[in-house]
């Protein structure tokens, strides 16, 4: 069995009275369930002890002042103390208001010993909260708490000796303690001397646990990390939902569950992630952000919109191929519920809040992917330089554009890991986006704009200079660029035009005389990947007056890509 974790316990004596701001000089006590739960030092001098019945306590000390019991107040008031301890050592575990434990090894190493650590903790607690606390260090929380009562640091191998003279009542099992006492085992040292198998055989698991504690082998170790609140909910759909209506019904319940959990935790959610899994194992995820806290209805609404977008979606690329079998709602950003503050003069809050509401309405009409915000990224053609991000998604990563600006690096740098990134900070950022599109990669740190600039500033050989075209055709239009003899203009293998162009005809009724032109800007992209490999040459052509055109020659055919109008 592993030795118990060195543990620091911080104990504030008579916490309920400290929390109630009762002066230690007054004779006062807090009762719980008719018995004295805690009392001041003055009350103790007057004969009041913890556990005494109310009538007995009042008969011993008629001037005893009774303070109302309020566990919520105790817990609330203890929070600053925990925070103060946490500034010295992380990983505090609260055992009850007034008492907390924390693994001490790291802190002791940092400050140069357990003694220095306890001094630090006490100073910090005193300076931040004006509360005098006692500290103790021993192996395991049980011994540490007892050490804190004695306000001492037990040496690493002295836990058993420290516990030996303690009475068996401290084990926290009154029935067992009574039995042990009748058997003549009055101290923890007596219990510890018994052979473990015999204790287990005679007293059962409770006895074995008591035996372990008495030997200073506290199996319970304080968790080094406060586990985050589990707020996510999921539900399985059986049979799989292949229509929106079926999934929406489940989603509504799910949204209410999430909301209830949030309310229980006194939290409000400003960002949720909706995840769905299909029969074929496809995973879909989308983050929804909201300016104010999301209500149950708002969450349900967003889940419905999202399912609408997936199941009845207009984009076949993101459409599930099978019914949805699993739905999950994960609150990603929670804030303390404080109600929502609306604008004072009835303008419905800030501009951003109004915009968010209006866009939520549009998303309700058309689906969540209908509203986009644009982001300028690196690229050669005008269409490649824009990344459209659905409204509400974080505008931080670069989506599928994983290849580097030089065009010579294959995608998939994401496998480089954090170490690789830090070792080559100059060029691995662009591969940071995570080509797998997995959920957690999408929320980058706030440094994203800097990253974006860095990526933009990279040279993109073959990129077009000058102002960008104001109109970028989503689908390039077929065009014909012809020379003086009426033959189509071509580009030789050495990137020279076969003849100067004089006439441009674009599908859709454009027929103009070319008076100025420039090019080609040759582009040979993704040559390592036969599926996405593109080779084209771009030209800018301008008529005498009117908008100029951006053309591309690909596989011997001319296309109009954009208009400089």
């Amino acid at each position: 069995m592993t030795p118990p974790v060195r543990t620091l316990a911080v104990w504030v004596p008579d916490w309920p009275l400290v929390a109630a701001r009762v002066d230690p000089g007054t004779i006062a006590a807090v009762l719980r369930a008719g018995r004295v739960w805690a009392c001041t030092g003055a009350a103790r001098v007057a004969g009041v002890v913890v556990g005494l019945r109310r009538r007995d306590a009042q008969s011993r000390c008629p001037e005893l002042q009774l303070i109302p019991d309020d566990p919520a107040r105790d817990a609330r008031a203890f929070e600053p103390v925990i925070a103060a301890v946490e500034t010295v050592v992380p990983g505090v575990e609260v055992m009850r208001p007034g008492l907390c434990v924390v693994p001490s090894r790291g802190g002791a190493r940092y400050f140069g010993g357990d003694d220095q650590l306890t001094v630090q903790v006490r100073q910090m607690v005193r300076s931040r909260t004006e509360v005098a606390c006692r500290t103790g260090v021993a192996g395991g929380p049980f011994a540490a708490v007892l050490a804190a009562r004695a306000d001492q640091v037990v040496p690493p191998d002295g836990t058993r000796e420290f516990l030996a003279p303690m009475p068996v009542e401290l084990l926290g099992q009154p029935e067992l303690a009574e039995l042990l006492r009748r058997l003549g085992l009055t101290t923890l040292g007596d219990v510890a001397r018994l052979p473990a198998p015999d204790v287990l055989a005679r007293f059962g698991p409770d006895g074995a646990q008591a035996h372990r504690l008495a030997r200073g082998r506290d199996g319970h170790s304080p968790t080094a990390r406060v586990p985050p609140l589990e707020l996510a909910v999921s539900c399985e759909l059986d049979p799989p939902a292949d229509r929106v209506e079926l999934a929406v019904f489940a989603a509504k319940n799910l949204a209410e569950q999430v909301y209830d959990r949030l309310v229980d935790a006194n939290l409000a959610c400003t960002r949720i992630r909706i995840e769905a899994q299909t029969e074929h194992g496809e995973q879909f995820g989308r983050v929804w952000r909201h300016d104010g806290p999301l209500t149950a209805v708002a969450i349900a609404e967003r889940v419905r919109w999202q399912l609408d977008g997936w199941l009845a979606g207009t984009a076949p690329a993101v459409q599930p191929t099978a019914g949805v079998t699993l739905l999950r709602i994960v609150p990603e950003e929670v804030v303390t519920a404080a109600g929502r503050q609306l604008g004072l003069w009835g303008d419905g809050g800030s501009a951003a809040a109004r915009v968010t509401r209006a866009l939520a309405r549009v998303q309700g009409l058309l689906g969540p992917d209908a509203v986009m915000t644009a982001q300028v990224v690196g690229g050669r053609g005008p269409a490649e330089r824009v990344r459209l991000v659905p409204w509400g998604e974080p505008r931080t990563d670069f989506g599928p554009a994983t290849w580097g600006p030089g065009g010579f690096r294959p995608g998939g740098f994401a496998s480089g890991g954090p170490g690789a990134r830090s070792s080559a900070p100059d060029d691995t950022r662009s591969g940071d986006s995570g080509s797998d599109g997995s959920g957690s990669d999408r929320e980058g740190p706030d440094g994203a704009p800097r990253v974006r600039d860095e990526r933009n500033s990279k040279p993109w050989p073959g990129a077009l200079p000058g102002p960008a075209p104001a109109t970028v055709l989503p689908d390039p239009r077929p065009a014909v660029l012809s020379d003086a003899s009426g033959a189509p203009v071509g580009v030789t293998g050495r990137c020279a035009v076969t003849a100067p162009p004089v006439r441009l005809v674009v599908a859709g009724g454009v027929d103009l005389e070319v008076v100025a032109w420039a090019g080609p800007w040759p582009v040979d992209e993704r040559w390592w990947d036969s599926a996405t490999h593109r080779r084209k040459a771009r030209f800018q052509v301008a008529p005498r007056s009117g908008p100029a055109w951006l053309l591309a020659l690909e596989h011997g055919r001319w296309w109009a890509e954009a208009v400089y109008d």
């Binding site: 501009a351 915000t373 109109t471 090019g519 100029a548």
Partner: protein, 234 residues
């Protein structure tokens, strides 16, 4: 006296609170700022909130119109323009994080526009279906009520102001060399009320450091663009 000294910092609040600067015209109505090159088109010094301004024939002109308001913190939306050049928008000074694009509203473009007019200072809309005069009036009324600017692309019945590009020219391009550098355009404006008198202005719509300036107003203009600035009052 004491009250005055307390109140004096109040105008600075506008700089602290993110939001649109409230420009006021002589008549007291609120104005949305425009870029300097377009200023001479607007006798009041800006676009009147709640009005309807159509833009024809040029996306660059729309960008120029949006950028003035966007630079001052306004939220803009563009409905029904799948071909909207976001890079050009960013170059013209439009803040892309305050720009919403609804590329394909389909038949619902009117409801979408109406919803956006509630919140956005400027909503540009390219109708995908024919606009009846009732619809046009309804949306214009919505814009007026909300104090937003409706910018339809193409014909629109009852618009307060109609902007169009009468002439445009790109320079920087030679016979097989150079690249498109500067975009000069002549803008024609006419409408109702104070805009009943048609106006014209020439300006740079795009180009190095020139975008948004009146043509010829800067010595840094490319040589080939020796066009004299003129404001024609027809």
């Amino acid at each position: 006296m004491a009250a005055a000294s307390v109140l004096s910092p109040v105008p600075r609040i506008g700089t602290m609170v993110p939001g649109v600067e409230r420009h006021r015209g002589p008549a007291g109505e609120q104005l949305l700022p425009v870029i300097p090159g377009l200023a001479s088109l607007f006798p009041e010094g800006g676009l009147r909130r709640g009005s309807t301004v159509t833009v024809a024939d040029s996306t660059s002109l729309l960008l120029a119109l949006l950028s003035g308001a966007s630079r001052s913190g306004a939220w803009c939306a563009v409905v029904g323009m799948a071909s909207f050049g976001a890079v050009a928008a960013s170059e013209s000074g439009i803040a892309l994080d305050r720009l919403a694009l609804v590329a394909q509203p389909g038949a619902a473009w009117q409801s979408v526009t109406a919803a956006l007019l509630d919140a956005f200072e400027m909503v540009a809309v390219c109708p995908s279906t024919r606009v009846s005069s009732t619809d046009a009036r309804r949306l214009a009324a919505r814009a007026r009520e909300r104090g937003s600017l409706l910018v339809p692309l193409g014909p629109w019945e009852g618009a307060d102001l109609r902007l169009s590009v009468t002439r445009q020219h790109w320079n920087g391009l030679g016979d097989g060399h150079g690249y498109l550098r500067g975009h000069q355009a002549e803008i024609h404006a006419e409408g109702r009320g104070s805009f009943a008198r048609p106006r014209q202005v020439q300006l740079w719509l795009a180009g190095e450091d020139l975008a948004g300036r009146p043509a010829g107003s800067t010595t840094a203009a490319p040589r080939s663009a020796a066009v004299v600035v003129r404001e024609v009052v027809a």
